[in-house]
């Protein structure tokens, strides 16, 4: 997913000046392979776009024509609570996984090659393990009679078990863990591409290690931080399994809310409005991502 996203961005960035410089005669040339796209387009149109549009239509058609569902979504304090939860959890998860993923990616880059492979494989392995298994294991660790609470109580640090699960704390912990690989992979690729001599150049120019980090290393990591962070944020907005298992009934997130509306209340209208909101937010973020990330400074220096 990482590569798909980043290659997409570079393609879009590179295509604009090229297209501008080209005469219209070569437009045909550029679209020559278009027919190869037809099967995929047909499939997506039939099984993705059509049902999606159908669903979104329900948001403005049911129960009556108009934007009533959206009004309700923003007017009802319980519903806005869900929106707030969704954004704060996604934001918190992004920040935490960036903070944890950055040193990990750096370590993978800095340790000798063989060790880096191992670390990266461990990260990948955790990503490939079943999501349910990983989420349930957090349940085992975090619940009132779980390992962490028992240990802390045995050590006398706490008298009563901490409530770390069936609330937003549990959701944030579990999701941060699940999202770390999505930060580490793009970030590590970015760090790997940074020429270590550039950091030496910074040092000899007079930058202390601290300033060298903030003025040279961190700006060069920006593309990785940016794409990783955005991916985690967008994924977190729409994440279902972990919030459903580790979260509580009081503090729902948007995906849980959508499912509840559909399965329990058969309220297709409000569910589809919420889904449309989620899609809209994602599209806006994607737009900003493409806009703010016109070129990767690291990639540009490597191309030469």
């Amino acid at each position: 997913m990482t590569t798909a996203q980043s290659s997409q961005s570079t393609h879009v960035a590179g295509a604009a000046p090229r297209a501008a410089g080209m005469a219209s005669s070569s437009t045909a040339q550029r679209w020559r392979g278009f027919s190869n796209l037809l099967p995929a387009l047909l499939f997506l149109g039939l099984f993705f776009l059509a049902p999606l549009i159908g669903l979104l239509m329900r948001g403005v058609l049911e129960p009556s024509l108009g934007l009533g569902n959206y009004e309700q979504l923003f007017a009802n304090s319980a519903y806005t609570r869900v929106l707030l939860n969704t954004f704060s959890v996604a934001g918190l998860v992004t920040v935490i996984s960036l903070l944890l993923g950055f040193p990990l990616a750096w370590a993978i880059t800095l340790v000798p090659r063989g060790w880096g492979r191992w670390l990266l494989n461990i990260v990948l392995l955790s990503m490939w393990t079943s999501l349910l298994a990983r989420t349930y294991s957090w349940l085992v660790l975090l619940q009132a009679s779980g390992v962490i609470n028992k240990t802390l109580m045995a050590m006398g640090i706490i008298d009563q078990p901490l409530e770390m699960v069936h609330n937003l704390t549990g959701v944030v912990i579990g999701m941060s863990y699940i999202m770390i690989p999505f930060i580490v992979l793009p970030l590590q690729a970015t760090m790997q591409a940074i020429d270590p001599m550039v950091l030496q150049a910074g040092a000899i120019c007079g930058a202390s290690p601290w300033r060298n980090f903030f003025r040279v290393f961190l700006p060069l990591c920006r593309p990785g931080l940016f794409s990783g962070g955005l991916m985690v944020f967008v994924m977190s907005l729409g994440y279902y399994v972990t919030p459903a298992l580790l979260g509580g009934a009081q503090n729902m997130m948007l995906p849980e809310f959508i499912i509840q509306q559909v399965q329990s209340f058969l309220n297709w209208g409000i569910a589809s409005a919420a889904a449309a909101l989620l899609i809209g937010i994602t599209l806006v973020l994607l737009y900003f991502y493409l806009k703010l990330q016109p070129e990767s400074p690291v990639g540009a220096s490597n191309a030469r």
């Binding site: 001599m197 030496q200 150049a201 910074g202 000899i204 120019c205 007079g206 700006p219 400074p297 540009a300």
Partner: protein
């Protein structure tokens, strides 16, 4: 950039001195007990093949490597414990290592920004630097949008803008093509003359070293095996390794016969008077190809041998025409292969297989009493 120009009043006082510098990687001595004085304002080149320790020595000067033992001093103060960012040394890297996320202007301004200069003063200095390296028109480009030569100029400007007293250059022109390299070599030489800054330059290209530097230090196996001006090192190499490494050379294995004569393949040769020789001691004579002459038998008959000259007979093996010069590869009766180089204008090319007389002045041949066989091959020097 008049501010960069420093008075070179105490030109004889070394600016930098390296004392018994060692760098070991495990048991391997990358730099083996080097001592060297670098004078203020000089252009000194470390010349050697890869792995000879020249880059490691430069890295220790910059502070990226810590010496295993020994001392680096600048004006008498030790640099060993000073981190790179406090050494106030400029450096130009082999692959430029510009900051890819900054424009040309910001790259050059970077060291000044760190030094918290006033904005107006900073802009003024950056502008002056841009003018010096003739990149005024490219100030707002990113490094990736520049050619290799332009990037190198930015790197030089970035290293010079904070007026360091010492500029280190690690094969800065290695990645450029020949023509551009020669152009930048000339620019660099003029820049050095204009700014009077001390430059320590690392290269494996001896022509570049000759073209640029006032002094050359030749590195081999982590040691400095020759130190002096390019002229001295070429004309009077201190040892057989330097002779083989710098330019082309002919080596004749002889046995001493007194102080100023030696026997070569059952023939007696005159040589430079050399003290402390034992009878029948093995010696090595070195003659530069352009100091030797090849004559046909008739020419040799017409021109009697001048006093202090030697003559040996040989057979032409190969003749190579190089434009301005001709190279004869000849073989003596005893199987010693020699190269004779002559300007092509005034000579008839000899045919392969022809008998020739090879002459040289005894004073032009260097005499070595100690050498190792590996010194004589051109590729020696690396570990």
């Amino acid at each position: 950039m008049s501010a960069v120009i420093k008075e070179s009043a105490q030109a004889d006082q070394p600016l930098v001195s390296l004392r018994n510098l060692n760098k070991y990687y495990g048991d391997f001595a990358a730099v083996d007990n080097i001592s060297l004085d670098i004078k203020e304002g000089e252009f000194l080149t470390f010349l050697g093949s890869s792995g000879s320790g020249k880059s490691t020595t430069l890295s220790m000067l910059a502070g990226f490597e810590t010496p295993t033992s020994g001392e680096i001093q600048v004006e008498g103060k030790s640099l060993i414990k000073v981190p790179p960012h406090k050494r106030d040394i400029g450096m130009v890297f082999q692959r430029y290592s510009l900051f890819p996320h900054l424009s040309v202007r910001d790259n050059i301004a970077f060291p000044l920004t760190l030094r918290k200069l006033q904005t107006a003063e900073r802009e003024r200095q950056v502008d002056a630097m841009l003018k010096l390296v003739q990149l005024d028109d490219f100030a707002h480009r990113r490094p990736a949008q520049l050619s290799g030569g332009q990037q190198q100029r930015v790197a030089i400007a970035r290293a010079l803008v904070y007026e360091p007293r010492i500029l280190l250059m690690d094969e800065p022109l290695g990645a450029l093509d020949k023509k551009l390299r020669e152009e930048l070599q000339d620019e660099l030489r003029h820049l050095h003359r204009r700014l009077g800054i001390t430059i320590v330059y690392v290269t494996h290209d001896q022509e570049e070293a000759m073209r640029l530097s006032q002094r050359i230090a030749i590195f081999s196996h982590g040691k400095i095996v020759g130190l002096g001006s390019g002229y001295d090192l070429y004309q009077n190499p201190p040892n057989a390794f330097v002779a083989a490494f710098l330019g082309n050379s002919n080596f004749l294995r002889v046995k001493a016969q007194g102080d100023a004569a030696a026997q070569f393949e059952s023939q007696s040769l005159a040589m430079r008077p050399t003290a402390g020789l034992q009878a029948a001691q093995d010696l090595l004579l070195m003659v530069r190809p352009e100091k030797a002459q090849a004559l046909t038998s008739q020419q040799a008959m017409q021109e009697p041998l001048a006093a202090g000259w030697n003559e040996i007979g040989a057979t032409v093996n190969e003749v190579v025409f190089l434009g301005e010069s001709l190279t004869y590869n000849v073989v003596t009766a005893g199987g010693t292969s020699l190269t004779v180089k002559a300007l092509s204008g005034n000579l008839l090319p000899l045919q392969a297989g022809a008998e020739v007389r090879v002459r040289w002045a005894a004073a032009d041949a260097c005499v070595y009493s100690e050498w190792s066989e590996s010194d004589l091959s051109k590729t020696a020097g690396a570990h």
